[in-house]
C-alpha cells in the first residue's frame, strides 16, 4: 500500500512539472508582461528595466528554471495588475472559492446519494422518473444562464414584486458589510444553488447506476437469500460498495472545481479563483496567470491522486493490480 501511494505521488510530480512548463511557456507566448507599462506613460527605460528584472531576454527554459526555483520557495512573483504578492492574491481567492466548493459539495453529496439510492431501490417509480427527468434538465442547464435566471426570479424579482427593501437572497459577494450568519447564508444560497444543480444531476445519475449495479450482484442476492434484513443489506452491503465509485468521481470533480468556477464567480461577484483568473486575463497579468494555472492544475492532480488512493483504500483489490 505504501509503495502504491509512493508510486502515485512520484508519478504526479512530472505531470505537474511538465504542465507548469507548458503553462509558463504558453502564458509567456500570449502576454507581454510589460504591456501594462506601455499603457501608462512611462519611459522606455522602465520597460527595459522590467524586462531585465523578469529575465525576458534569457532563453525560455532558463526563464522557466528561474521561475520554478522561486515558485517552489514560495516566491510567486508580484502581480503586474495590483503590485501585490501573487501568493497573497491566490490565497485570498482560494479561501473564497473553497467556501463555495465546500458548501456545494456537502449539499450535492448528500442530495446525490439520497436521490441515487432512492432511485435505485425504487427503480421505475414515479419519483425515480421525476429525478431522472430533473437530472437531465440539470445536466442540460447552462450554469450561467441558470444563475441569471435564478437572480431574476429568486432575488430581483421578489424584491420588485413585493416592494421589499432588500431582496430575499443576495447575489453580490459572500457577505455584506456588517454581515452575520444569516447574511452569509443569504449570500451563499444562489451561487451554491447554481453550482449544486449541475453537480447533483451528474452525481445522482452516477450513484443510481452504481447502486443498481451493486444491488443486482451475487453477494447482495446471497445476503438477501440468507435473510439479512433489507435495510441492513441496502446500507451495509449495497450503499457501502456503491459509494466507492462515487467517492472517486467526487474527488475528481472537486479537483476541477478549484479552477472551474469562473462563470459562477463572475455572475455572483465572488472574489474567488475564477474571478481572479478573469481579472488577470483581461489585464494580461502574466505572473498571476502562470501561478494560477499551476495551482489549479496542482489541485486537479492532487484530487486525482486522492481519488486513486481513496479507491484503492476502499477497494483493496486495486492494490494488488
Amino acid at each position: 500500500m505504501l509503495s502504491y501511494v509512493g508510486r502515485r505521488v512520484l508519478y504526479s510530480i512530472p505531470v505537474i512539472l511538465v504542465a507548469s512548463f507548458l503553462t509558463f511557456a504558453f502564458v509567456r507566448a500570449t502576454f507581454d508582461p510589460t504591456a501594462k507599462l506601455r499603457q501608462s506613460r512611462t519611459a522606455a527605460s522602465a520597460i527595459r528595466e522590467e524586462r531585465q528584472h523578469l529575465g525576458l531576454n534569457e532563453p525560455l527554459v532558463e526563464q522557466y528554471g528561474t521561475w520554478l526555483g522561486r515558485f517552489v520557495r514560495g516566491d510567486w512573483g508580484t502581480s503586474e495588475r495590483t503590485h501585490e504578492a501573487v501568493s497573497a492574491q491566490i490565497g485570498r481567492a482560494l479561501w473564497n472559492t473553497t467556501q463555495l466548493i465546500v458548501w456545494s459539495v456537502l449539499l450535492s453529496a448528500m442530495a446525490a446519494v439520497a436521490i441515487g439510492v432512492y432511485s435505485a431501490l425504487r427503480q421505475y417509480s414515479v419519483l425515480d422518473y421525476t429525478f431522472t427527468g430533473l437530472s437531465f434538465l440539470g445536466l442540460a442547464l447552462p450554469a450561467f444562464w441558470f444563475g441569471l435566471i435564478a437572480i431574476e426570479f429568486l432575488a430581483v424579482g421578489p424584491k420588485q414584486w413585493f416592494h421589499l427593501s432588500q431582496p430575499p437572497l443576495f447575489f453580490v459577494g459572500l457577505h455584506s458589510t456588517s454581515g452575520g450568519v444569516v447574511d452569509y447564508l443569504r449570500h451563499l444560497v444562489l451561487p451554491v444553488l447554481t453550482l449544486t444543480v449541475g453537480i447533483v444531476a451528474g452525481w445522482s445519475r452516477f450513484q443510481r447506476a452504481s447502486m443498481l449495479d451493486i444491488m443486482s450482484s451475487d453477494y447482495i442476492r446471497t445476503a438477501r437469500a440468507k435473510g439479512v434484513p433489507r435495510r441492513r443489506v441496502v446500507l451495509r452491503h449495497g450503499l457501502r460498495n456503491a459509494l466507492v465509485p462515487l467517492v472517486t468521481v467526487m474527488a475528481l470533480d472537486i479537483g476541477a472545481l478549484f479552477g472551474g468556477l469562473i462563470i459562477t464567480e463572475k455572475i455572483f461577484s465572488v472574489p474567488g479563483m475564477g474571478k481572479l483568473f478573469f481579472d488577470s486575463l483581461l489585464a494580461g497579468d502574466a505572473t498571476t496567470l502562470t501561478a494560477w494555472l499551476v495551482v489549479t492544475a496542482a489541485f486537479i492532480v492532487a484530487f486525482n491522486l486522492l481519488a486513486d488512493l481513496a479507491y484503492s483504500w476502499l477497494d483493496p483489490r486495486v492494490r494488488v493490480a
Binding site: 509503495s3 509512493g6 508510486r7 512520484l10
Partner: protein
C-alpha cells in the same frame, strides 16, 4: 476403444518429413511490482518443451489448465514471443522469420479456438469472418464468394447462411465457422486449442469427426491441445503430457494410453471412465492431493513430486530428464512404471 486414426495405413508416418519441430521452447513471464516496477521474478509458463509432429499426424498436448499447453500452442504460431527455443514448420524457423516471411508462413498454419463465442468477431457476418484471412492475403478476388461458400459446405454449414451473424448460430455451428476460417488459406498445420471442450457432448463428436475427415482428405497436421486424455483419443497419433510447463511423458498414443509410465499420466488416465462396467468397477481412481503449485515458485527437482505418491528424496534434489522408456516413448520420472491399479 478402437481409434481409426492409429491405423498405420491411414496416414504416411514418415518421421523424416516432420511438419512441426519444437525444440527446448521456453516462455517466461516477468512479474513486476514495487515502487520502481522492477522485475521481481518470473513465471515459467513453458519451461523447455520439445516434440516433433510428422506431416499428416496429430500431436495431442494434454494437461491441467494452467500447465502451459495453450501458451505452447501460441508460441508455435508466434502469437506470443518465445523466450528461447526453436520452432520449425516444414523446416522453416518460425520464431526467427522476417515479418514478410512470417506472413507467408501464417497462411500455412492456422488455429481453431476453444471458445466459439469469443473467437468470432460479432460485428462481421459469418461469410466475412471466413473470408477475412483471404482478404488479408489478397486472395479474395473474384472467386472469393464462391470459395467461401465452398468452405461452408466443406465444414457442413449451409452456404445460404454466409450473411448471418455469429450470434445467430449455435455453438457447434460457430465452431464450424471457426474451422472454415482456419481452412480458408489451405494451411498445412492446424493448431486446435481445445476445439470441442466448450461444446455440448452431443455436438463434440460431430466436430471431431469433421476434423478427422479433414485431416485425412487434406493431409493436415494437427497440434491438438486438450485438458483430458479421453477427448483426444479419437484424433491423437502422438501424445505429450504437460505438467507445470514441462513435458512429463511423450509417446505414440496407443503406448501412452495402454502403458502410461508417469504417475501424473496415470492419474489423468484414471479419471477417464472406462466403458466396460466390470473394469470400471475394479478400477482404482487416483486422486491427486493438493493444488497445482504456483508456477512462480515451482518445486525443486521433479515438479510433480509434491503431489506424487512415489516421490523419494532424490525427486527433490534433481530434475528427472525426459528419457527414453521405449523407442519413441519417453518419460521424465525417476520411478516410472505401470500403474499398479490397472
Amino acid at each position: 476403444m478402437s481409434s481409426p486414426s492409429v491405423a498405420p495405413d491411414a496416414k504416411p508416418a514418415r518421421s523424416d518429413s516432420a511438419m512441426l519441430e519444437v525444440q527446448d521452447l521456453v516462455k517466461d513471464f516477468p512479474i513486476r511490482s514495487g515502487l520502481r516496477r522492477g522485475t521481481r521474478g518470473r513465471v515459467s509458463a513453458v519451461a523447455g518443451v520439445s516434440f516433433t509432429v510428422p506431416r499428416g499426424q496429430t500431436f495431442a498436448l494434454v494437461g491441467e489448465s494452467g500447465c502451459g499447453k495453450s501458451t505452447t500452442a501460441r508460441l508455435v504460431l508466434r502469437l506470443v514471443p518465445a523466450t528461447s527455443g526453436t520452432v520449425h514448420v516444414d523446416g522453416v524457423d518460425v520464431l526467427r522469420a522476417a515479418p514478410a516471411d512470417l506472413r507467408r508462413l501464417r497462411s500455412r498454419m492456422q488455429i481453431v479456438y476453444q471458445d466459439p463465442y469469443a473467437s468470432l468477431n460479432p460485428r462481421l457476418s459469418a461469410g466475412a469472418i471466413v473470408a477475412d484471412p483471404l482478404r488479408v492475403h489478397g486472395r479474395f478476388k473474384a472467386d472469393g464468394p464462391a470459395r467461401v461458400r465452398a468452405l461452408f459446405e466443406r465444414v457442413g454449414l449451409d452456404p445460404v447462411d454466409v450473411h448471418r451473424y455469429p450470434h445467430e448460430f449455435s455453438g457447434g455451428q460457430r465452431q464450424r465457422i471457426g474451422i472454415a476460417r482456419a481452412l480458408a488459406l489451405e494451411p498445412d498445420l492446424l493448431v486446435l486449442d481445445e476445439p470441442v471442450s466448450a461444446l455440448d457432448v452431443s455436438i463434440q463428436a460431430g466436430v471431431l469427426n469433421l476434423l478427422d475427415e479433414l485431416q485425412r482428405t487434406r493431409n493436415l497436421t494437427y497440434l491438438l491441445i486438450a485438458h483430458d486424455l479421453a477427448a483426444v483419443r479419437q484424433l491423437a497419433d502422438l501424445v505429450g503430457v504437460m505438467y507445470l510447463g514441462k513435458l512429463v511423458e511423450r509417446g505414440p498414443a496407443d503406448r501412452l494410453y495402454n502403458e502410461p509410465q508417469h504417475p501424473y499420466t496415470q492419474a489423468l488416465l484414471s479419471a477417464v471412465p472406462v466403458p466396460d462396467p466390470p473394469v470400471e468397477r475394479r478400477r482404482r481412481r487416483i486422486l491427486l492431493e493438493g493444488d497445482l503449485p504456483s508456477p512462480t515458485a515451482p518445486p525443486s527437482g521433479c515438479r510433480f513430486r509434491t503431489r506424487c505418491w512415489r516421490a523419494q528424496p532424490i525427486c527433490a534434489e534433481r530434475e528427472p530428464p525426459l528419457e527414453s522408456h521405449t523407442r519413441e516413448h519417453r518419460v521424465a520420472c525417476f520411478f516410472p512404471g505401470p500403474d499398479p491399479a490397472r
